[in-house]
Symmetry: C2
Subunit: 223 residues, 2 copies
DNA sequence: GCCGTTATTTAGACTTGTCTAAACTATTTT
DNA sequence: AAAATAGTTTAGACAAGTCTAAATAACGGC
């Protein structure tokens, strides 16, 4: 009863990921995320609705029930703990962990995940800066906003990358940007919205508005 | 082409495990090991034979091809490395790791398994004393024999447990027996073939002939 | 060397998860 | 408000993997 198939878990995680702030997730978006077709998603939503994990209003998308959300949070927890393990202990690059964690997250063992959490010292954030739910599903609270919204002169701390696209992460590596760094916004180009940043030791560095939109920062760091 | 489904992998591993010394594995035994029915095994053997992993002689059982054996050895490698990780790093008991490793072994990432091997310092044996194939499929060579075959007075080293049954392992825990220990055979009861052993600090200890048959020991340890 | 037992295979069915194509609903455009 | 468009559902099909029941093959005993 309690255990879901891999495909069911994938759908639940996709809905969780798409369902920001009460919005329901649409078939097409779920299908795109899982590389399947909308019609397949319809079938699966019916099954998940029967199991009480999803509320499915035909033509109006799907949203998770409390039970479904609990399940999704545990999947996110597992995914992010494994990513942390892969980077911190096995020396993977942060751009290499996604697909492997995608497999590891489906391994089902309460004890395994609790031991892993302990072994990693109960991390609150994964290598991309994403929050890791605790064993009861609580997410650490923190307010972030996109770097793109900062004003010139702001000093901020890089908290997370909101899209774990491999090539974005590789770009950040190439520019020497990493989670936790303090950045100063030196200038904003009016022409394309790109930002001139200063950080670490070295000359200033330009990043596009697109990239800046994916970098999440915390409230100004105290100097 | 190269990637197998979980069920295909399970069958290949079962055949590998049953196929000692050139013997082929029989349907019924495979089915018992995988908790399925012989007829399901027949179907799967056909599929695996088509993929060139198994030689299937109807009514005469199945045996692995070179390709199949290579695959099986990689699965055994993954299984035993994960078991080692679970015991050495996450503090699992050696009687708790089997089912979890059974899931982890199906995660497919060359890099993951090589990094794990490195992280564990290239272990040659898993927590049960079973040899871990190296990345090219080589097994460390070692000759062992059952403790049951020892003569009274022998001093031997406990190398492995040939059956990873949970209750056997718990029994060994209870008696304080662990891989690597040096044992002295103090007496053998003619009535039931049980052995009286001395090891560590403590009084002698009796083990049944059945248990002694599952304990594999190395050539006499030098005193 | 025949007979009964046991194991294996075949045949047909079912479930899960997916697909395509066609029918349908909601939304946007004019 | 009707038509065009974009997304959703239904219907029917298929592959993988499993099952039961019936047919068939191998083997051990007498």
């Amino acid at each position: 009863m309690g255990t879901l198939t891999r495909s069911e878990e994938d759908h639940i995680k996709a809905i969780y990921g798409l369902q920001h702030a009460g919005t329901s997730a649409f078939n097409k978006d779920i299908a795109d995320r899982l590389n399947t077709k909308a019609s397949s998603v319809t079938d699966m939503l019916k099954r998940l609705a029967e199991k009480g994990l999803v509320k499915h209003a035909p033509y109006y998308g799907a949203s998770l029930t409390a039970k479904g959300r609990r399940h999704a949070l545990m999947l996110v927890r597992k995914h992010r703990l494994w990513e942390t393990f892969l980077v911190q202990r096995l020396g993977f690059g942060w751009d290499e962990v996604h697909t492997v964690a995608e497999q590891l997250e489906h391994v089902s063992s309460e004890k395994l995940i609790e031991r892993l959490d302990e072994y990693l010292d109960h991390p609150a954030y994964d290598p991309h800066g994403d929050p890791i739910p605790d064993r009861s599903g609580q997410l650490p609270q923190r307010t972030t906003r996109p770097l793109a919204d900062c004003a010139v002169g702001d000093r901020v701390r890089l908290a997370a990358v909101s899209d774990t696209n491999d090539s974005l992460l590789q770009l950040l590596d190439a520019k020497g940007l990493a989670i936790g760094m303090v950045l100063e916004v030196v200038a904003r180009e009016p022409f394309d919205g790109s930002l001139e940043l200063r950080y670490g030791k070295g000359p200033t560095c330009a990043i596009s508005a697109l990239v800046a939109g994916h970098l999440l920062i915390e409230q100004p760091a105290r100097p």
